[in-house]
Amino acid sequence: MSTRTTTPSGIDRSTRLRLYRLMVELRDFEQRAYELFLENLVRGTSHLALGQEAIAAAFGVAMREDDYTFCTYRGHGHTLARGASMAGAMAELLGRANGMMHGKGGSMHLTDVTHGAMGSYAIVGAHLPIAAGAAWSAQVRRSGQVSVCFFGDGTTNIGTFHEALNLAVVWRLPIVFVCENNQYMEYTPIRSVTAVEHPAADRASAYGLEPILVDGNDADVMYDTAVKAIGQARTGKGPSLVEALTYRHGGHSRADPARYRPEAEVREWLGRDPVQRYRERLLAAGIDEGALAPIDSEAQAKVDQATEEARQGPPAALEEIEAQVWADGGSTWRN
C-alpha cells in the first residue's frame, strides 16, 4: 500500500509530477526555440515565456480535455500545455510544411483545435471577447466546457478587456480570465501607465468579481487557483478574473535584451524561477531525485525529437498561399 504525498491543499504526488514535467517541457521548448532563432532557423519573431511556465502548466493540468484555451502571441506554452504536438509547434516556428498550421500562422498564432487550443492571438486583447464567445457557445450547448483566456498585463488597459469582462459577468459565462502580469507591457513597466497598482485584480470589483492576486511562479498555488476557478465556471457560477504575478526571463520578443529592467529586479525574479523552485519543493517534500531526473532527461529528449522532426520537414508548400481562405478550402472570389 502506498501513501499519497499531498500538499496542505491536497495536490497529490502524481499531479505534482505532471506539473513539474509540463513546466520542464515548456522551459526546454522555449530555450530550444531561442537557440534556433539565434541559428536563424526561426524567422520572423517569437515571444518566449521563459519564467512564466507555472501558469500555463497549472491550467493545462487542471483543464478538462474538451475545455478551450485562448492565448496570446506569447502562447507556445499554453498551446503545448493542452497536449498539442511539440514537433508541429517547432515546425511551425521554422516555417515548414509539417507545421501545425502548415506554415501559415507562425510563432504568434499557434493553434491546435483538436486539443482545445483555440488560437494564439497577436492583437492585444482581441481574444478576450472571442474566448467569451466560446464560453457562450458552451453555455447554450450545455456542454459543460470551460473557456480559459490568458493575456498579459498590457491588455488590462484596452477596451476589449472591459467589454469581455462585462459581457461574461452579465451572461454568467463559464470562463476564466487569466492575467499574466509579468510587470512589463513591451518595454514600459505596466505600473507606470496604469491607474491602479494591480492592473487586473484592482479592476475586478468594477465587474462584481472577487479580486484574485496570486503568485504566478508557484505551480501549487496556480494549480489550486485554476481548479477553483474552473470548477466555479463549470458549475454555472460564472467567470473569474485571476491576476498571476510573474516575470519573463528574457526580453519582449526575439533579440530584445531587456536593458530597461533594473538588474536587482531581474536578479530577484530569477531567484523565484518557477521551475527551479518547484523542483526544490518536490525534493523537500520527499520526492527523490530518482523521480525527477528522468523527467528532466525525457523532456530534453522530447524537445530534441521535435526539433529533429521540424528540421526534417520540407519548406511550407506554395499551394498553401491560396488555400483555406474559405471553408471549401480555396480562395476564389469570382467566377
Partner: protein
C-alpha cells in the same frame, strides 16, 4: 407571394433559418426587446425566446468577438452592428480576427457567422451614421460581402448567408428598409455569388448595388425615352463576385457604367471597371464611367446629402452625356 417591406423580409430571413437550425443565435444592441432600431427584427424575441435572441451592451468588439468564438465552437451566430459606421469600432475583430483565422490556422477553424448592418445615406444622419462601407469589407480577404436591393433578396440572401460556412458581412441599405416587394412564401434562398440582370439593355449596361439599383432602373426608364436602351445589373454579391453575368452584359452592349453610393476612391465599381478593362477591352465602345458619391464624408443637410449621392438625374445625365 406576399408583399413585405425590406425590414420585414430581413426578419423573415432570420426567422426561416432560426426555425430550421437550432444552432442559429442572434445578438446585438436593441435587437431583442426593441426589435431593432430600424425595426428589422421585430417578433424574433417572442418567437425564439431570450436565449436565442439576446440584447447586448454597447460593446461592438464583444458582440463580434463573441460571435466569432461561438462560431468556432459550433454555433451559427448572427450579429447586428446597428450602423455600418460602427464597424470602425470593431474592425480589428472583423478584419484581423474573423477574416484571417481560418487561413492562419491552415483551415482548422470554420467561422459560419453573419454580421448584419444598416448601411448608407439618405436619412440626414450626418457623416458618422450614413457611410456606405461595403468597399471596406470587400478589401479584406476572408469576408463574403452582400448588399441586397429588394425585399426578396433581403430574405433569400440573408438566409443563404446564415447557412454559408464562411463569415458574411450583410449590408442592409437604410433607405431601402421601407420599400416593399413580392417575397416568395415558404423557404427562400438566393445563392451567394450571383448578380441579377434586372433589365436587359442593348446600348449600355448600368451596374448598381443596393439602393442604387432602383435609382438605376428609374434612370433606365427615362433613358429609353431618349432612345438609349440601358440595361441594369444588380451586383448584390460583391464577394464572391459574379463577373460572368456582369461582363456578359458589357460584352453585349459595349458600354459600362457603375452607380456606387460609396465615396469615390476604391469603390467596388473600380474593381469591376478594372476587370472589364482587362477582360473585355475589345468589346468596349467607349470609356467606362463610374457614378459615385464624391470623395467626401456625407453631409447632413437634405439638400447637400441629396446632391452628394448619385441621383436619378445624375445617372441619366451622365449616361446621356457619355453616350452622345
Amino acid at each position: 407571394m406576399a408583399q413585405l417591406t425590406f425590414r420585414e423580409a430581413v426578419a423573415a430571413g432570420i426567422a426561416q433559418e432560426m426555425e430550421r437550425d437550432p444552432l442559429v443565435y442572434f445578438i446585438g444592441e436593441d435587437v431583442a426587446a426593441a426589435g431593432g432600431v430600424f425595426k428589422a427584427t421585430v417578433g424574433l424575441l417572442e418567437r425564439f425566446g431570450p436565449e436565442r435572441v439576446r440584447d447586448t451592451p454597447i460593446s461592438e468588439q464583444a458582440i463580434v468577438g463573441a460571435a466569432m468564438g461561438a462560431a468556432m465552437t459550433g454555433l451559427r451566430p448572427i450579429v447586428e452592428i446597428m450602423f455600418s459606421d460602427f464597424l470602425a469600432t470593431c474592425w480589428d475583430m472583423v478584419a484581423n480576427q474573423v477574416a484571417k483565422t481560418r487561413y492562419m490556422t491552415g483551415g482548422q477553424v470554420s467561422l459560419p457567422l453573419v454580421i448584419r448592418t444598416a448601411n448608407g445615406g439618405g436619412t440626414r444622419f450626418g457623416a458618422q451614421h450614413s457611410q456606405s462601407l461595403e468597399n471596406w469589407a470587400m478589401a479584406v480577404p476572408g469576408l463574403k460581402v452582400l448588399a441586397p436591393s429588394t425585399p426578396a433578396d433581403a430574405k433569400g440572401l440573408l438566409a443563404a448567408a446564415i447557412r454559408d460556412p464562411d463569415p458574411v458581412l450583410f449590408f442592409e441599405q437604410k433607405s431601402l428598409y421601407g420599400t416593399a416587394g413580392e417575397v416568395p412564401d415558404g423557404e427562400h434562398l438566393e445563392p451567394l455569388g450571383t448578380a441579377v440582370i434586372r433589365r436587359p439593355g442593348r446600348d449600355c449596361t448600368i451596374v448598381a448595388l443596393a439602393a442604387m439599383v432602383p435609382k438605376a432602373l428609374t434612370a433606365a426608364d427615362r433613358l429609353s425615352g431618349l432612345d438609349i436602351d440601358a440595361g441594369v445589373v444588380d451586383v448584390r454579391s460583391l464577394v464572391p463576385l459574379d463577373t460572368r453575368t456582369i461582363l456578359g452584359e458589357v460584352r453585349k452592349t459595349g458600354r459600362l457604367f457603375t452607380v456606387e453610393e460609396n465615396p469615390r476612391l476604391c469603390g467596388w465599381g473600380a474593381e469591376i471597371a478594372s476587370i472589364a478593362a482587362d477582360e473585355c477591352f475589345d468589346d468596349l465602345d467607349g470609356p467606362i464611367v463610374r457614378i459615385t458619391t464624391p470623395h467626401v464624408p456625407l453631409p447632413a443637410a437634405d439638400v447637400l446629402e441629396d446632391a452628394a449621392m448619385p441621383s436619378v438625374d445624375r445617372i441619366v445625365n451622365t449616361v446621356k452625356g457619355a453616350m452622345r
